[in-house]
Structure formats: structure tokens, C-alpha cells
Symmetry: C2
Subunit: 319 residues, 2 copies
């Protein structure tokens, strides 16, 4: 079972490929020795693009990893998932990015990143990246990738290339509290909205880039700014779609939560990929909700991606 | 029980403070998810200086950590161990160094470091470091700290300051195969020998910086170069001391091996600290062997440091 009418051209993303190291015990932060498990392949853009490829779409990522086990683990995993890694540079002098993740008792997470000075921080629009962008029909950006002025500049370059070629652009702010300390990120967030055909915020991320105090006001402001459509992710409560003509809500699917890492990335990739294959908005929302629910039910970010068959089975069981 | 005649002045070292993340399963490298445990406070210079402080000597480290849990974990641990951390900078824009460690079936270890671009890579002889060096009576350098030209330059600055003040210098090459790829390290290794009063190689590290093909030839070459004395660490087989007049062997102590991380650092700190308190070479070797054996018997690098009482108890039990 694949999407029947995928359009030509590639879905391309840019940003961090990293390993996740997960604490097996709940609590606060990393101030004492803990039982951990890892490395798990990860990084929001990497999970996004693996999910798009899993749905059968031509998919590629522009990134940079170190010449170390953490880098090769990720490259091999993406290759096995049929993601084009021709624009993933293997850097000889920077190490692969990493994220230590620990759950708090209340379900919130603490992260400890090595990102800015890692290989991922060296991602750039080099010749292999330009070759990919020439084939790009849709370009996706994660807010988590805007962690330095260098990255924001490279993302901007990429957007200008693909926009000139008529590609569409989606943006998932994917804000983590540890990252909003980075002044660059706030500037980057605002910049991305100017180019955005599909905006994919999670709950409160909808209002953050606006002057608005309420959801409806934020939606109006964003559509006025030129954003094509807005898809609000509400985790277990499903999702909503807004454009100038329509407001559509779609309830979520119940699953036993194992690990929410990557759920939003799988949601976004499924919505974008299904829209590109011409499915109606309602069905795209439903499949994206199913993708998010399946991701939540599995341990590990990259482990959360699923097939169209699995998504349809979840939907069929729920109805 | 403390060393009876510790001389005034501080033992000071410089170099990486990091966290160790230990794989709990043996095998090769980090290409798949594993059970891990960490963060453990570590870094060869940090373990060395904690052992010197544990023996009652005034001890300080010049280093740099990130403003993150891994950094604070280390600072708190060093403070509790009475190490002077006045010259440990907390960097706002680089993360604390880390080392993933996995044992192979044959007992060898694979390391995956984040060092050069970490906060530890930003270590420098700033004002707090200069204030410390003014009080320095003995300065210790780990080869593992010479991982960039920047670090080599800073170490050189420090040595010149302390040598001008009449302090002695010890050097432990502490070479890891992953590090010899760094061209800077080989250059740094040769430079250090020129300043070295006490050279502390482990087995084969003795010949690496020389033209010699045998141990006796290497010893002759090093003494000729001006190295004051050479203490060769032979792990379970004990240690040997060489200067222009003497060659002294001291057998090791048998313990059940739990984790050799830090054993050489504890050995070196104990030898240096005991020599400074005026103990005869034979006793210094014996205590240093005991320190190394105790370190090997415990999991975790920093966990391996021990008191003089524990060392003397091990020696008494063995005789």
C-alpha cells in the first residue's frame, strides 16, 4: 500500500542528525549517574524525512555528521530507510551531534544537547546540497535546526533556491525550552514564517511567533502574514487545519504512550506527504494523527515511523 | 592518616574535565543502542588532582566546563573532594566534554570523545589560572589534554610560569589510540619531555617518544634528554623507577578488576604527592601501585581514588 499519486520531485529537509541517549529512570536532569540507553538514531529533521520516505516519497536530507560511530549509525539507518543521504557530509573534525533526554515525573523532558559545536552545526549548502535542491518539490524546516546564525543563513539560502524553483515550504517550530535561550532561534522562527506554505505548530507554539493572545487571533494574524495553511498538533487530542476558507478538526487516536519523541515529526511528514499525493485535507489530518499516535506508542524517535498500512489499520480499528 | 611532611605550595594540573558514559555491555564501538551508565565525573587530569587532594595535598585544576548538568556535576564533585576549582571556567557557549567508553571482549576499550570543540577545548591561562600558578609547587600534565594546538600553547604558557617559579613538572603521556590521530598530540608529547622532572609512561608509552627500540635504550635516551626520573606503570605487574643512579622495581597488588579507568591517574598522583612529602622512592612506588590497584577494583574513574589508609591496608594485607 503506497500513496497512489505522489507528485514528481523530492521532499527535502535540512538540519540536525544526532543520537539520542535516553535516561531509563525518571527525574530531573543529569546531575548523577543513571541507567541510560543509546545511541538511538535521531534528530527531528532526520525522523521527519525517514517518515516521508517510509510513505514512498522520494526524500532527502541536507546535514552533517562526524566521522564516528554515532554518525555512521545514522547514515546507515537513513540509507536503509531509502532516504537520499547524498548531501550528508561526513566531517573529519567535528563530532556527531547528541542529545541526552530524561523524562521528569510530570512527563516533561530535560535535554542536554551537543549541537552548536557539533558536525550538525557545520551543515551548509554545498555542491551536493545544491544538486538536491534542484530536484526539490517540497522543502521542510524544523525550528530545532535554527540553533545558530550560520544554520539560519544556510536554511535561508536553501529556501531561496527552492522557492525560485516553485517548490512549497513547510515549517514546524519544534521549540524546546532549552533552545529558546539561543537568541538566534527566535529571529529564525520569525523569518521562516515569511516563506511558509504549511505551518505546523504544536499547541502553544501557534501563538508564540504572533502578537495574538488567543488561537483564533493568532490564526488570523498568520494567514494575513501570507502563511498558506496552519496545522495545529494537539497530541492525544488530535489536530486542526486552518486556511483562508476552512477550519477542520480531527480527533486523535488512543494508544498506550511509550515515548513521544518524534511524534510531531512523524505527524508533519505524513501530513505533508499525503497532501502532496493529493489526498483531501480531512484524510491527511487523520493519517497524520495516526502517524503521531503510532510514534508515541514506540520507544525511540526513529523507531516511531510507520507505514501507510499501519496508519490505516489504526484508523480502521478506531472506527 | 595523612602524609606527614607535605611541602608548602599547590599541586596544579590543567586539562579536560569530562563525563564518562560507560557501556554496560562488551563489544565493539557504538553502532547500535546499548545499555549505558553515566554521567560519571571524569577526565584524566580531574581524577589525578582529586587523588592528590585525597592524600591531603593542596591541589587545583585549570579547566573549563559548560554551564550544563555535566559541568556542575564535575565541579560539585571536585569541590567535595577539596580540589581548588577557582580556575575552572564555566563557559556559556560550549558544552562540557564527554567520553563514551565501551569495553571490547579482550579488555581493550573504544572511546568516542567530544573534546576538541567542547568547553574543555576552551581551557586557557586566564587571570584565575595565573593566580593559581603563582602558588604552584608542582605542575602535572596529561598527554590526553594536548588535543589541540590551542591546549598545547596554554600548557606551554603554564609550564613556563611554574618553571620560572622553581616548581617541578610531571608528565603522563596517557595516550589513547583515538587521540594519536590528532597530529597536535604527537608534537605536544615531544614538547612536554623537554620540561619533565617526572615522566610517567604506561608500558609501551615509554618508547613511543624516543628513537629507541628497547626499554633500556629509551630510558637512557630520556635521561640524556634531561628528564629527571622515569616511572614506568606496568598495571598488574607493578612499576619501575629509573633515574641516573637507580633502577627500582616494585611488584603490583592483586585485586579483582572492575574498571581500569583512572588507575594510571591515581598511580601518578600518589607517586608525585608522596615524593613531595619526602617518602623514599621505594615507598612511593609501593603506595602508587596500591592506589592503582584500588582504582582498578572500583567502577568509575573518579570513584577509584583512595585514601592513604586504604593504600596502607592493601599493602599490609599483601605482605
Amino acid at each position: 500500500m503506497t500513496l497512489s499519486a505522489i507528485k514528481p520531485g523530492k521532499i527535502v529537509t535540512i538540519g540536525e542528525i544526532l543520537v539520542d541517549i535516553m535516561a531509563l529512570e525518571r527525574g530531573r536532569g543529569f546531575l548523577e549517574p543513571l541507567n541510560l540507553r543509546g545511541p538511538f538514531p535521531g534528530g527531528a529533521p532526520a525522523i521527519f524525512i525517514a517518515q516521508a520516505a517510509r510513505l514512498g516519497h522520494a526524500a532527502a536530507i541536507i546535514s552533517c555528521v562526524g566521522d564516528d560511530d554515532f554518525g555512521w549509525l545514522n547514515i546507515e539507518r537513513l540509507k536503509r530507510g531509502r532516504v537520499d543521504v547524498s548531501a550528508v557530509r561526513v566531517h573529519e573534525d567535528h563530532v556527531t551531534a547528541s542529545a541526552f533526554v530524561r523524562y521528569r515525573e510530570d512527563g516533561e523532558r530535560d535535554f542536554l544537547f551537543n549541537l552548536k559545536r557539533s558536525a550538525a552545526g557545520q551543515t551548509e549548502i554545498d555542491q551536493p546540497a545544491r544538486a538536491l535542491l534542484a530536484e526539490c518539490a517540497h522543502f521542510h524546516i524544523m525550528g530545532s535546526s535554527l540553533f545558530s546564525f550560520h544554520l539560519i543563513d544556510e536554511v535561508k539560502k536553501a529556501i531561496e533556491i527552492v522557492k525560485a524553483n516553485g517548490a512549497t515550504v513547510s515549517f514546524d517550530p519544534n521549540i524546546r525550552k532549552e533552545m529558546m535561550d539561543i537568541a538566534e532561534m527566535r529571529a529564525g522562527l520569525e523569518l521562516m514564517l515569511q516563506y511558509c506554505d504549511i505551518f505546523l505548530p504544536s499547541g502553544p507554539e501557534l501563538v508564540i511567533p504572533t502578537e495574538a493572545k488567543s488561537e483564533p487571533a493568532a490564526i488570523a494574524e498568520l494567514l494575513e502574514l501570507g502563511v498558506g495553511c496552519i496545522v495545529v498538533k494537539r497530541a492525544a487530542r488530535g489536530s486542526s487545519y486552518y486556511d483562508r476558507d476552512r477550519a477542520i478538526d480531527c480527533p486523535g487516536y488512543k494508544v498506550v504512550e511509550a515515548d513521544p519523541t518524534g511524534a510531531g515529526d512523524c505527524f508533519g511528514a505524513t501530513f505533508v506527504t499525503c497532501r502532496r499525493s493529493g489526498l483531501p485535507v480531512e484524510e491527511c489530518l487523520s493519517l497524520a494523527n495516526a502517524a503521531g499516535a503510532l510514534a508515541v506508542s514506540r520507544q525511540g524517535g526513529m523507531e516511531g515511523i510507520s507505514t501507510l498500512r499501519e496508519m490505516r489499520a489504526l484508523i480502521a480499528n478506531a472506527s
